[in-house]
Symmetry: C2
Subunit: 513 residues, 2 copies
Amino acid sequence: MRLTARPIDLEAGGKFIVILNKDDADYLGVRALDRVCLKYRDKTITAIVDTTNKFTLKGELIANDDITKYFGLNGGEHIEVDPQNGIESTKYIRQKLCGARLEYDKIKTVIRDVVDNKVSSVELAAFITALHTQGISIDEAASLSRAMVETGRTLKLKQEIICDKHSIGGIPGDKTSLILVPIVAAAGLTIPKTSSKAITSPSGTAERMGALAPVNLSLEEIQEVVKKTNACLVWGGALDLAPADDMFINIEYPLGIDPMLLPSIMSKKKAIGANHVVIDIPIGNEAKIKTADQARELAEDFMELGKRLNMHIVCGITYGDQPLGHYIGPALAAKEALLTLRGNGPKDVVSKATNLAGLLFEAVGRGNRMTALQMLKSGKAEKKLREIIEAQGGNPNIKPDDLPIGEKYATVKSECDGRVLRIKNSEIVLIARRAGAPLDVGAGIHLNVKTGDSVRKGETLFTIFSNNYNRLNEALELAENLKPLTVGNKQEEKMLLGEMKGTCEKRIFVLDR
Amino acid sequence: MRLTARPIDLEAGGKFIVILNKDDADYLGVRALDRVCLKYRDKTITAIVDTTNKFTLKGELIANDDITKYFGLNGGEHIEVDPQNGIESTKYIRQKLCGARLEYDKIKTVIRDVVDNKVSSVELAAFITALHTQGISIDEAASLSRAMVETGRTLKLKQEIICDKHSIGGIPGDKTSLILVPIVAAAGLTIPKTSSKAITSPSGTAERMGALAPVNLSLEEIQEVVKKTNACLVWGGALDLAPADDMFINIEYPLGIDPMLLPSIMSKKKAIGANHVVIDIPIGNEAKIKTADQARELAEDFMELGKRLNMHIVCGITYGDQPLGHYIGPALAAKEALLTLRGNGPKDVVSKATNLAGLLFEAVGRGNRMTALQMLKSGKAEKKLREIIEAQGGNPNIKPDDLPIGEKYATVKSECDGRVLRIKNSEIVLIARRAGAPLDVGAGIHLNVKTGDSVRKGETLFTIFSNNYNRLNEALELAENLKPLTVGNKQEEKMLLGEMKGTCEKRIFVLDR
């Protein structure tokens, strides 16, 4: 049927959406979330239908921004509207809902339609839920990774060996990449590191590096930086590497599920051409992965998936029961990374970075952990980071004290003498985010003590930083409520690890990849 | 933070939706589909967030119709906006995604929030998908039914025994309810029958009865009609009986899944107070349920669920491999129902209606199939239907030929001599809908022959009716393409039942409840 266009100024992230009057929709035999085929002059598109009784008059078709732009509408044009059967993806999504294992071609079709914004959010939610409840086979994971790479842009480097590093995440203050990348590059290996921004954590590698140099580079700029320095530390979000992943995250996050974890990570690595990757799997009650068994299972999946994608994967299982180092938040963590590269880093930061770098050196047959330590101690890694900073457009002479730490701060003191028995990662994350991290680059936490340290009553346990007074106060209030550090004489006196009463359950969902 | 209201004229079916500028959303730490708490004067609501880079300016809050109305906004008001953690339902939905069996209290909370429009469509899609992939336990089904009844309105009748009838559906031309309801009522039993409108079929009971009398009655009017006549035949859609169900259907339909089948049906029956219900399960390759085993399994689930809900359920498994009777479409089927009540009905229509009515009579200890036949043959059932028509505001003297059959028609003739070997239900449905049914009350199909009948080359197989010439031609073209009737000398000569080549798969999804 023919309907008259009325454009409205509503964007839908690239999706074509029409709002039809209920009567017209009934006549066409379509319902909300069905698809219609729109024809105007020589152009034809598929749009998702919304219906209304009031907003759209009979005979009228409300077109969103994306349609208006594509057809070049001013309003009043006659658009030919026909019901359209489901796109091919709909069929495969339904097959998945009924328990089918999908082959590569089908997965590629779905991912292509997701990237082209043809899949409705309800369909996408159903697809992701089915992947979560029914699990993904290793073949499906490989197909998903490959399809995500093929529907995005890729980084093309001519080196034969390309390294990369990834962490499963969940450990506040983890600045390993800022130290590992220059170590690996200083040894002559290529490591073009891209990171996503923090969704649930107080800072990601992109935000930490962002305190030292610009990270929002184009693929062409990245190619130049890597050519000069063997490495980069950039934000991967705007590069269109595996763009389907970002759309999955938008659905996974509100649902608190993450079935695409493996394929997503691998697709981002594959898209930058990596063929030797070290994956950090932190474990502990306070980490995303709780036990060594679970970590080994995950590591096996990563390695198996790597084989299918022609990538050599090595995994490091690391201690994750407290924050890494003493500084949490973008600028604070960057400061500690710089201190570590200058030889003044805490032992856990040094140990983690050099061990993971050592795994990579072993994987490519170019040394081991001692090689990494040597790069660190000789100052070559620091020099390399400064080269990278300069190549990305930052100040190569930046000193740890130059970093813009939040101007306002508050301290939390111990209420008793004793030892620090536990530090709760999830609560440290909440407090740092309440203080403004990661958007407020200077916001975060300085842990004056770590697990096992002795403290006296009244001694400072940690300091909260922020550039906003209200946020600082809110974070302080939260800290006093949560008490993220447990101080006691002996572990035996503090046997209660958690409480469950009525509906007060609280769980943090870590989605950062 | 405080944002300035800008109302826009966009309804969201009762959902509160705000569109925030990306920067403000980042500052609040919320993402699309998260929830925020809005405060204005003494009112507080929870709204679902959408974000934009362009449409909403920084500092501005776009409020949809529902918010504008609730707060009484004109634009320019300062609204206090705070991030809000997930509603309680979010927690239970996530538990379901992780495979949990949900207890009654949790299910009630989810259903309540669904009805109150607090659950986003992504969450609802995930919940329904998880119910589909993981299955629903009988306890969950009972909880869902009960919660759906409790969150809607109910019909209150003082009779001790209240009967009802439901069909799983999928059989074109099934006018059983129009005959069974007056049979049961004529025998002195109470049977307040409500029906939903056809979603995927050419007509539902509501549309068929709609050709004889008004069906859009209020609960109060229904009470009056039942008081006068023991029965009614009305549309249940606007009565707010188990309103959650309609919201589930909106998600289930585009996904092609129907996990709520049992709880939905039972909730609608429970809401009108039914305690003796006969359920028709048609089986056959052309029906929704393919085999007798599957039908028995479904029947056992219905009976078990009935026990938990204090309802006596009996099931009839019926032959469903071809349309019922000869007439398909709202007015055409109503005409055949009237003919049947006057003693001129086809044998399959009479057999099905009297057998199912007999099951109900046995269930309440008031006779059997013979009682039903007697009601039919004595003319008491016809008299009863005319009483119901009059009580609902229709013409009690209506004659079969008074029904408004489509003025335009086209015939499809046999291409050879032989017998009708098969009639494909799903193709008959597609053709009748293409002709305009159910919106065009006169549209539909008259089957001149049924399976087993002899035909000669050139003899009419069926006639398509419509009030719209274009639609009639489209339906005719479709009929000539699909060839829904197979004519041949012997079954043995037509062994090929279907073809699968490349992507030409075609499947009809029947969602009518």
